[in-house]
Symmetry: C2
Subunit: 462 residues, 2 copies
Amino acid sequence: MTTKAAHINDDLIEALRGIVGDRLSLAEAVREQHGRDESYHDAFPPDVVVYPETTDEVSDIVKLCAARDVPVIPYGTGTSLEGHVAALKGGVCIDLMRLDRIISVNPEDMDVTVEAGVTRKKLNEDLRDTGLFFPIDPGADASIGGMTATRASGTNAVRYGTMRENVLAMTVVMADGRIIRTSRRARKSSAGYDLTRLFVGSEGTLGVITEITLRLYGIPEAVSSAVCSFPDLEAAIETVISTIHAGVPVARIELLDDVQMDAINKYSKMDFPVLPTLFFEFHGSKNGVVEQVETVEALATDVGASDFQWAVKQEDRNRLWQARHDSLYACMALKPGSKGMATDVCVPISRLAECILETRKDIEETGLLAPIVGHVGDGNFHVILLIDTEDKDDLEICKAFNERLVMRALAMDGTCTGEHGIGYGKMDFLVAEHGEAVSVMRAVKMALDPQNIMNPGKIVRV
Amino acid sequence: MTTKAAHINDDLIEALRGIVGDRLSLAEAVREQHGRDESYHDAFPPDVVVYPETTDEVSDIVKLCAARDVPVIPYGTGTSLEGHVAALKGGVCIDLMRLDRIISVNPEDMDVTVEAGVTRKKLNEDLRDTGLFFPIDPGADASIGGMTATRASGTNAVRYGTMRENVLAMTVVMADGRIIRTSRRARKSSAGYDLTRLFVGSEGTLGVITEITLRLYGIPEAVSSAVCSFPDLEAAIETVISTIHAGVPVARIELLDDVQMDAINKYSKMDFPVLPTLFFEFHGSKNGVVEQVETVEALATDVGASDFQWAVKQEDRNRLWQARHDSLYACMALKPGSKGMATDVCVPISRLAECILETRKDIEETGLLAPIVGHVGDGNFHVILLIDTEDKDDLEICKAFNERLVMRALAMDGTCTGEHGIGYGKMDFLVAEHGEAVSVMRAVKMALDPQNIMNPGKIVRV
């Protein structure tokens, strides 16, 4: 699968070597790996992969590419899910993982500035002695640059928000190689257009994010987890709504349906009831956490929940959450040899029960084996479709199912993607969701990247 | 002061009447009022003021103006502070206060959709029966449209965030009259560029915001206030920092310096110690609030605070906060006949004590009478400069003082404006703050408003 861009030639490669020396690869295996993410989407390898170590090197690389109309694709850990890193038109892949410095930790201000290639686990290891942590947890040990570029969130967004709320500022290399800083470190500002939020979620299509300043939080004094089974999905979701209405600052509230619980029991050798289940995590002071747990237990019991189990000890909590984090592997074990395709709609929470129930009905009518897990405090849930990659029909059936699911969510004032992004997999859904507003996005893209060299073919068609 | 735009003529006025009938004014007093905000900046009256009642009417008005290259200036309650509503090049002022419907309240989703002219107090009155409220409180009873357009915040941003965090979606009339919706009602989304955040804080320069969907919060079970004096500013700010580090979810934490406390005592007939003082408000469950107050009292006492007074009863709390809200009038009473000019820097909290102390020194050296109040949980503070409006030198001295203050804040990685915005008063400071990034803002402006008719002369020069 060769996708050589028009102006890729020996001269360009030599010029790139002039910037990064031997931190450059033309090897097929390396290119193939950099054109593929964790999704079912087809891979498109770039023509060359470079490994800069500084923002200035990134700027020089982008200037070279701009002068020759060559596409630039930023790359982090490759854990995206909508083909974000595919080099659809070939070009230069900028692997940012060697920009891996933690530039400054400011404990008093509860912020940190990192380079794009620092992963969230690495960051939290480094922060441990400060008593602070960075909460956003999309599952994968993704890079902060990639999480920023895709507006990632995950299990504890219900309390701590998404990357949208937690990026204070960033350094960006623009499409012509200029380096800008989007904001200062002040907690709030009304100084001009919010460039920070414009680049969060821009998926490399407006520039290359090289440094990010993040909000941090104090490690809570007390943490407690709980798990609770419900007679049906409605009761589980009613508990979610009443928990949030009661103002309980729950840190995590995850729904797993009976199919998912069955898979977890088999995979993780647990013996949870095979019923719709909520996993909770509570953060706060010792008394505060006890109060939170008691409030939620009362709300759950009111709607017929059973088996409300607390876990305070770290090893018990870890066992519980490990089971949750392993849910994708548990699913795939249900159908050995299959590949997971995760849907990602997010709806207003008042429509969540209806959306999930209609989706369950669709799963049954389509004859799929498809567990559901959800970050239900936000109204976001994933159906894990198990695709036989050898079977083209299977993929088409799953794609049609996902399209029906997206249209159902849009009709409920929801979004086609709560946290995975558009990439090249959801561009048509973006139009269905935003209509005329997509033309405004296109105008922004064309203004900031008039040559369309920044990760072309993602988010909007130009 | 006539500022007739090039293409304002009888034909345009007739066409406008065709849209809004007699909801149009050419009266000098009306125009004069619409060209002036609450700041010291010169007023620039528009040529005509129209009062549409629907988004479609706004769209038709903008289309007319676009066809004739006539400036469009959106207007709410006129409570901005940097000349945001001044019709620098004349044009059509769109007074949005008749778009005053609350379109839909969704208690389960804890959101509400309103038209731009609904004020925050009106909204909270309407919400009372739902048990929900909208927390953002910039002091003035501003319109939600204006608060969105200026990225307003105020006293309780430390807990609830600013308009940036609390606007979920909006309807915008673009510069060519097209109507877009920036987002759905889902709590989070990774679907494309964050147009919502791009329009929050755009000050009418990218389009006219006509409808806004806002996050709501549960009215807390318990509310408590406290006031506490400190031996010096450092001790007060140390308490702010340790409160936030301890994870106390304080709803308000306001600093008033000794000059301000003296003014309040005189104006509101109180007898607070004339010392640096923190005003607190705590929201939560009954036990939670007690725990918060006890934690903060211990932290304050540790650094030598005295007179830690709680107020739980609503009338006592109201008396306390009324004194805080009247602080501007209290200041102006110090120098009868003066006009207040409020500075608005915001710095990382680790630099706040240093920034305020240097500023106090500057106040003394310049010989100003200038109290300081601050939303110190965010690092944001205002110096209230009392200007003798008859004395041109006085204005120049205050402007020079503000310039020094802004440069001091920028050197500390802060911003020239935490919550007031740029308008036409701070455009040079925007360049000092953002440098090269201003050219990115300009590119966005030119892409979305190529004729430069949307509130021209604000935020960026094109």
